[in-house]
Symmetry: C2
Subunit: 151 residues, 2 copies
DNA sequence: AATAGGACCTAAAGCCACTATAGGTTCAAT
DNA sequence: ATTGAACCTATAGTGGCTTTAGGTCCTATT
């Protein structure tokens, strides 16, 4: 049988579309296994790790938290188990994304209103500064919804 | 003339709707001035600081970064100056919010598709795990747009 | 074989905007 | 005088990386 092809951390990172440090970080937090090393103590990876890293990056692109990714990876590692939990994780994430969109939309509306009313004069009569000074000038008292809005 | 009414950090925080530590943090990073102290070294605030803190909290609720708030505060402190820069900051922020909404909407669509296709069987045939494993299964190759999407 | 420079190594700090913890002091009410 | 809440400072933790510092190793060219 022939030798497995292996590649460096730089090659792995560029194939997965992330940074070298990010790979080391994932190893550190246990998302990626500790890889083999060559004689000079440098990491050598196989295509299995590339697939795993791609899964991680893709899940992160979807906005799943690292902890969610950890769970999803655990499930991907056990193809015979039922997938209800993966389903639940995805559904919850979808709900969070939808909630975030709603909050951001309310925020956008307030910002639009604010910007539209600025006539471009002095700060004293600027609607932007005025609205920021006085919460009561917002359409919905808590319409833009606190710091949560920007998460 | 009569003495100015002053109040404690706890009263200030609760009137502004934030935490006590947050007030101290804003002082530390220079958004709030160092206040007077009483005989026991405790901070005493005036309504001027309450107004300033309210402005800060409200701006943060609007999603402005602390650095943007710092600039906005500087402008609020100079009512005679032109307000173009405040206007520019708000417009830029509005654009960022709109961009974020777009990215989140694409993300939501992909998530919906993914969740809808999960039939609830074993992990092996789960669409969620499958889509996460393989970027090509997304509608738009870069539709949900990388980590930027979730900011 | 020597050398240059890019890629790799570890460990630790930095980012944002707070939040939490630890261990002590002061205030206000009883 | 005592109690317990609120205050004080300093430091660490959060998430998910990114950056920096100070080195070692690999590979291509001379």
């Amino acid at each position: 049988m022939q030798e497995q092809e292996t590649f460096s951390i730089g090659a792995l990172a560029s194939r997965a579309g992330c940074q070298v440090q990010t790979v080391r970080y994932y190893e550190q937090i246990g998302l990626l296994p500790e890889p083999a090393r060559n004689a000079g103590n440098q990491r050598r990876y196989s295509t299995a790790t590339l697939r795993r890293l791609t899964f991680i990056r893709h899940s992160r692109d979807f906005g799943f938290s690292v902890e969610a990714v950890r769970e999803l990876l655990g499930m991907a590692d056990h193809p015979d188990m039922p997938c209800d939990h993966a389903d639940a994780i995805a559904k919850r994430h979808l709900e969070e994304v939808e909630a975030r969109i709603e909050r951001l939309s309310a925020l956008r509306d307030e910002l639009k209103r604010m910007v539209a009313q600025c006539a471009g004069g002095r700060v004293e009569e600027c609607r932007i500064v005025e609205v920021l000074s006085d919460h009561d000038q917002c359409l919905h008292a808590s319409g833009h919804g606190g710091r949560e809005a920007i998460r």
